[in-house]
Symmetry: C2
Subunit: 333 residues, 2 copies
């Protein structure tokens, strides 16, 4: 298993062909996000960093790529019945927006305790909110009921080949914008983003390293890789609210075979990275979005001889949806 380090055809839920198809399909709708660089951050990191700003994507996160690929892959009959998801985060907003662009309904099951700014994003893009209790059981039951009543298509936030292919378009863009990149650091949660990025990037350049960044309080992916099977944590504890999901059966094989390492960082490092994004790069990222910068600055990465020659590092700033109420309150005083 360890020897299978290259992408081979039809092994995984997505491949370079499905990623290229996704790019053609979604390009009319997505933003080609800019790659930012900073001499100050290069100096701090001791390497050249290339920030792929998916926080500047429509809906404020990379999720719009996968969601729009899924929605524009549907045939007209399927599409007419709409789509459902029981994620309450960036995927829900992205799915609402993509559904709006195709003029079909998006039913979003939202637990009653969901953060206000995430719910507002769904509403802004016209998603139809269906409230559930906070438990996973209630969310799944509610979603099943909506599926039955509407005949809508479930679009899972990450365990879906169309979604993984959509996220993979990031690699096509990034390696065109900064072909000198030898390493890409990607936040890991359910694994949809890193699966797409790894499949895309390693098909273009098999020598490229793909590293995951994961919070210490939700390190199920690192533990899964160590155990050789998907592990699910009984609970998670991290400020990175977008990184609490567990791997799926479609993302696990890619993470197992193609992700070269997983770098664990503390919440304190995430907050410091987030501060650097605002103060030096001048982009608004959420904690989950800043974790790649936290990883490249962490001691565990810097001191690992395996990554000594990672000289041109792509960092995916995956999202920017964060509640800044405290800031506006202080300015309005």
């Amino acid at each position: 298993m360890e020897a299978k380090s290259q992408t081979t055809s039809e092994k995984y839920a997505a491949d370079i062909a499905s990623i290229r198809e996704a790019q053609v399909r979604i390009n009319p709708f997505i933003h080609a996000t800019p790659v930012l660089t900073s001499e100050t951050l290069n100096t701090i990191a001791g390497r050249k960093l290339f920030f792929k700003c998916e926080c500047l994507q429509k809906g404020g996160a990379f999720k719009f790529r996968g969601a729009s690929n899924a929605i524009f892959s549907l045939d007209d009959d399927q599409a007419a019945r709409g789509v459902v998801t029981h994620s309450s985060g960036n995927h829900a907003a992205a799915l609402s927006l993509a559904a709006k662009l195709r003029s079909i309904p998006a039913y979003i099951v939202v637990p009653k305790n969901a953060p206000k700014c995430k719910v507002e994003n769904v509403m802004r893009y016209g998603g139809q909110i269906i409230w559930s209790e906070a438990t996973l059981q209630s969310r799944e039951e509610t979603a099943a009921k909506v599926l039955q009543e509407t005949g809508a298509v479930l679009v899972h936030p990450y365990n879906d080949g169309r979604v993984i292919s959509g996220q993979g378009t990031i690699s096509l863009e990034l390696l065109e914008q900064a072909p000198q990149i030898d390493t890409i650091i990607v936040p890991i949660s359910g694994g949809g983003l890193i699966s797409g990025v790894a499949l895309g990037a390693k098909s273009i350049n098999p020598a490229i390293r793909v590293l995951a960044a994961e919070p210490r309080g939700a390190s199920d992916a690192a533990q899964s890789k160590a155990a050789g099977r998907i592990l699910v944590l009984p609970e998670t504890n991290t400020i990175a609210d977008g990184l609490r999901a567990s791997l799926g059966d479609l993302t696990w094989p890619v993470v197992r075979d193609l992700v070269d390492d997983i770098i664990i960082v503390d919440d304190k490092e995430i907050i410091e990275a987030m501060r650097l994004c605002y103060e030096i790069l001048k982009v608004a990222v959420e904690p989950s979005g800043a974790i790649g910068l936290a990883a490249v600055l962490s001691n565990s990465f810097r001191e690992n001889p395996a990554w000594k020659d990672c000289n041109h590092v792509g960092i995916i700033l995956s999202g920017g949806n964060v509640d800044l109420g405290v800031l506006w309150d202080s300015l309005s005083k």
Copy 2:
């Protein structure tokens, strides 16, 4: 005087030729900043908006364009003696950075009451800080003393043809990135930015409108235009700390002749625009940087029949250096 609405050669401190020269000179050093768009903000504004993100410029503000044009215009003998300024804001950081790139000293006179984040920016880029009292008199005297002792060249933050030409390179970039633009809204303070932008843009497309955005508590430019001469306010009162300067004798003729109107906005509107930049565009701007968005959303702009057909509006997000300490304090709790 009112009839002279077009750019004619050698009338002003800069022209399209000096702006094009500046572009060739500074292009190896500056970031070509991205232009962002947002359907959500287009819907709110009722027009198509094109955000020129100078907050993503090196040093976090457009000031690096003018500063680097000034510094790389110096001959080697002049340059060796270094540069001086008594601005403590974004110009000081930009001048420090440009001087560092030419390996010459930058002497920055900073009043003792300057905001911490601005001083940190100067120090980050290697500027040599010389403290003065908070009064303009003390700042000017201290700068004069440094000039005398070092033989360094004074680089004024805006009343300088080289600086104006550098800022004008924004128009060359912007109109290449978004040629459909029919209107540009620019923050106004000392007038260096808007002079460069107006001279550049109106030379390329004489029909383009250039509008200034100014805070109600520092509306000296609007009052100056109404009076037909430079007026200096006895005091200013606005959250937009970068917009408190008065026009200079080199910027005033351009503002008088080429700026089509000045839109006055309240601090409350500036904070709301800043919030939209963070929450929708996902870029970190300072209050002065967000004022263009505040202007396009203001009632005085929307209800003015003269601007009814401003359908494609370029907005210069001029800078992103703001103290977000309250945000990090709240996240670290």
